[in-house]
Symmetry: C2
């Protein structure tokens, strides 16, 4: 398997350059990539921006056509799942009936890139999203092309916001607290990915590019450094310890 | 109607004192208040802490008993809906079949206090929650005892987090951006409530205690100051303009 999942949050020049480099490398040898921006509105805007970034045209980066999406999946050699709202995205993927086709293609080796919501739906469920539930999907079950959950846009600890020049503390739950709520009911480990970070997954093991935290249902969380290699349970491989 | 909804985030002495004062005032004349902590685990811990804070005992602040919750609603003269996870809370309220009973009682004048998730479920739907979808409820439809949506723990703009002494910017979506995603699909106005803030709703008009922002589907958002009085569309009443 060739799966690359990004946390999102690439709002600097350096991060955008890294994103472009990783995408280009990941899709090497692909002549037709299916672009799926169903997490957002303005699909045309999104695909045009991405074609600009990657130096591709409409024959290389093909916008999903909802009237024959399943055929398109058979006709391309790569999939890019864009960010936006995960609830909307998973609802649309199920409505179009393409969850199984994507899952099978990726399990058979088709390169997949997901960013933010596109990483959430690569997981067994999209339950570790940060998004607002603006639609009620029939199920939270997702592609399951990686065996763990991802919390994209992860940050450690508490946050502050700035208003009229003053910094204010925010008392609401941290991401770690929300993930521990998830683990009250579910056993799947969760990878909290700092913004600008990526995970490569090959079907057997993952490699982190950037910074992350592994959360387990039954033990202390573990900070993961750049280059960390882990198994499907997010346990570090000896070589990267 | 006598509805008091809090944003949560009362992690200072001053805020806790205000919370206690407002609750005591709101429940004045109530001899039996039903405490519903279904948004969280550890119901016993929660009720004990709240009894301590309010100086009440088990006859004044009655913990919900899932075997006869509907009867309890008929037997009390106030309802307190606690915070935690809104997905879990709305699932449990529907599973117990008490949504209608609570709605009717409150519409008939029974004082209601909700905080955080307890404010989310007072709205027509719980779609403007910040929580993680750790369970899939059968519906997002909620109590609808106020006619607008609330985003509790609201903060303006972007946030920063601190790690090993350094502040880092977070690039993920702001609350205002998430609310605008909600408004791509829905028309109900949304009240973003700063932490430590409250809304009184009497069935006709609301009054803000603290700081908030009104978001509309079709016009610019409006900053609301302490004491702002508004109608069911979150439009300011002339007297408070």
């Amino acid at each position: 398997m060739r799966v690359l999942l990004g946390s999102g949050g690439i709002g600097t020049k350096e991060r955008t350059a890294r994103f472009k480099g990783l995408l280009t490398e990941h899709f090497e040898g692909c002549s037709r990539i299916l672009f799926i921006p169903l997490a957002s509105a303005n699909h045309q805007d999104r695909v045009i921006k991405m074609r600009d970034l990657l130096g591709m045209d409409e024959s290389n980066l093909v916008l999903i056509d909802q009237s024959h999406a399943e055929d398109q999946i058979q006709d391309v050699d790569g999939i890019y799942m864009g960010g936006g709202n995960s609830f909307l995205l998973i609802q649309e993927l199920h409505r179009l009936g393409i969850v199984k086709a994507i899952r099978e293609s990726v399990k058979n080796g088709m390169p997949y890139v997901g960013v933010s919501a596109g990483s959430n739906v690569a997981c067994p469920t999209m339950m570790t999203t940060n998004d607002m539930p603006i639609v009620l999907p029939e199920t939270f079950d997702s592609l399951g092309i990686v065996p763990f959950q991802i919390n994209p846009h992860y940050y450690p600890g508490k946050i502050t916001f700035t208003h009229q020049g003053d910094q204010h503390p925010h008392y609401g739950e941290s991401r770690a607290q929300r993930i521990s709520e998830y683990h009250m009911l579910h056993d799947t480990p969760v990878l909290g990915m700092w913004e600008g970070s990526y995970v490569h997954w090959d079907g057997e093991q993952g490699k982190l590019i950037g910074t992350g935290v592994a959360f387990y249902p039954d033990k202390e969380s573990l900070d993961l450094r750049d280059g960390a290699v882990f198994d499907k349970g997010l346990n570090l491989r000896q070589s990267s310890a």
